[in-house]
Amino acid sequence: MATYHKVIGIDLGTTYSVVAAYNFEKQDVMVIPNRQNEHTTPSVVYINPSGEISVGRSAKEKQQRDPEGVLIEVKRLMGEQDEAGVKKMVVVRNKQYHPELISACILKELKACAERMIGEPVHDAVITVPAYFKESQKNATREAAKIAKLNPRLINEPTAAAVAYGLDSDEVQSFIVYDFGGGTFDVSIVRIENENTVEVVGIGGDANLGGGDIDEMLTQWFFGKMQAQYGSDFSNDKRLRGKARLEAEKVKINLCNDSETKVQEFVIANPVEGIEEACFSISLEEFERIIQDTLEKTLVQVQVALDSAQKNHEVTLEDVEAIILVGGSSKIPAVAKQLQARFNKPIKSNLNPDEIVAIGAARMAKNYEPSQAAVIKDDEELKPAEGVAAIGGGELDSTNIKDVVSHTLGIGLYGDLYDPLSLRTKSSRVGSVAMGIRLPRTTRPAFILLFIRAKTRRHPLISTSAKWLSAACGLSQRAFTGSKSRLRSMAMACFTGR
């Protein structure tokens, strides 16, 4: 038997990504290092003028020399449209690329790291996505995985974080998952039931709040110091701004990781012509004072998630056992202090917040059999690798994942009519909801697209199954005969609206 399980777990983050796999010898999940022997890989892609791609640290370093070819935070564009309803594309040197392709570059790099460690080809991955992702965003993530020749299984990031901490309790437990990453802030209330069911019962957060904002605040602080010392505003100098952002991230990480050193130097050599070195000291106290407003925003969102959990699932703060910290920015000492002070709950941070989501994904991945090959074509079927039996034996084998519906789903009719089926933040298998509905024949939809939380791993998430369509509409299955592509193309409109 190979040392590693060949189905890997990937935390495909906005700013950093992590890959992990289950190690049979150590009987635990191991985070797989990248080419630089680091556990986290920047989710950054660089395309040089000849079209050659590089990913990770080498791409990130190009920000100083050739920022035009550097692509950051592509996750924000996945499955998104602009106000005119046109798909958002990535633009590099006046050329457009599908965000799925850029995301696939990152996945391909992580896959390559895993294959190097495992010593065999990898065809399958459990990939995490934020709990608030719409179907179009999840679908784009699936497409990116397929382009990178990986068979994807998606799970929500907070669910993965809860799984990483284990499910061995016999009692119902609820946790607050506080995920303060590089590009986004998400908070989820996760309930783990005694029958090994993980359920996300409430969500909150801010898609435009992350470690990058903290870096920017620190950069502004630096320019303020520069102006005070040299009497000029250098904040419009793009080259210096790029250098300052990189230094700001470094200073932030050092302040948060090094418990001994309470003061860090913010140093930039030759910031502008005539100045040999700019060096300013910043203490942890001053740093935390600068970012206090941001931290306060995150605490407000924790309350939003708790309110939604209470409203929809009667889960209250009293039910919460602990707060799980996820994401690099959650390592800021003030985060744990203020969370504990505000909500009076113990903080779980014994697993590295940078790696916890990938660890949870890899634990989930252990329950999947590796496939023989990646499936890129629509009509291909996943086939287990030769000689591979179900893994079994793990304590997660019967894990049943239920997630909230992040957006209201419903049946859309032509003529701008809309019939909601399932409300946002209600935890349910949407397909089941649809199955139970018999629409009056006068309002029967012309087209329907049902979102099915499929139990079977081969089942597509978006189904045009005649059985489901007919059940939802109260019509004969004969009304929905036709090829899958015809049904899909004619079908229409399960609207997702916030």
Binding site: M89, A104, E135, G415, D416, A479, M492, F495, G497
Partner: protein
């Protein structure tokens, strides 16, 4: 959008999945990625901005008109009537009438 259960009319963001990558495009992008090179100016990985989505009603009417010549006579008459019904509903700007007309035409085309 008009909420059928409450009658409330409000703006919501629609997502019909029209921008999803199709199998052919996926295969093409997978090949590009395998080479590690997305191409220089105008390369195969690059794309032009997609055209704005076509109005759904117009799309359905166009499709119906395209199919008309190959339809048997009884069905053709039904479809022609449904087209007229839909055009009238659209010109009257009545969402309920239009919804019914769209359902009718769509079912005839299935």
């Amino acid at each position: 959008m008009k909420h059928l259960q409450t009658g409330e009319v409000k703006a919501i963001q629609l997502d019909r999945g029209l921008d999803a990558i199709v199998e052919k495009k996926r295969m093409e992008l997978a090949e590009i990625l395998a080479t590690g090179n997305v191409g220089a100016t105008g390369g195969p990985g690059a794309a032009t901005a997609p055209a704005p989505p076509q109005d759904n009603v117009s799309a359905l009417l166009n499709r119906a008109r395209q199919l008309l010549p190959n339809m048997p006579q009884p069905q053709r008459t039904e479809v022609e009537n449904a087209i007229r019904q839909l055009e009238t509903a659209r010109s009257n700007n009545n969402p309920n009438e239009m919804g019914a007309a769209l359902v009718n035409l769509t079912m005839l085309l299935m």
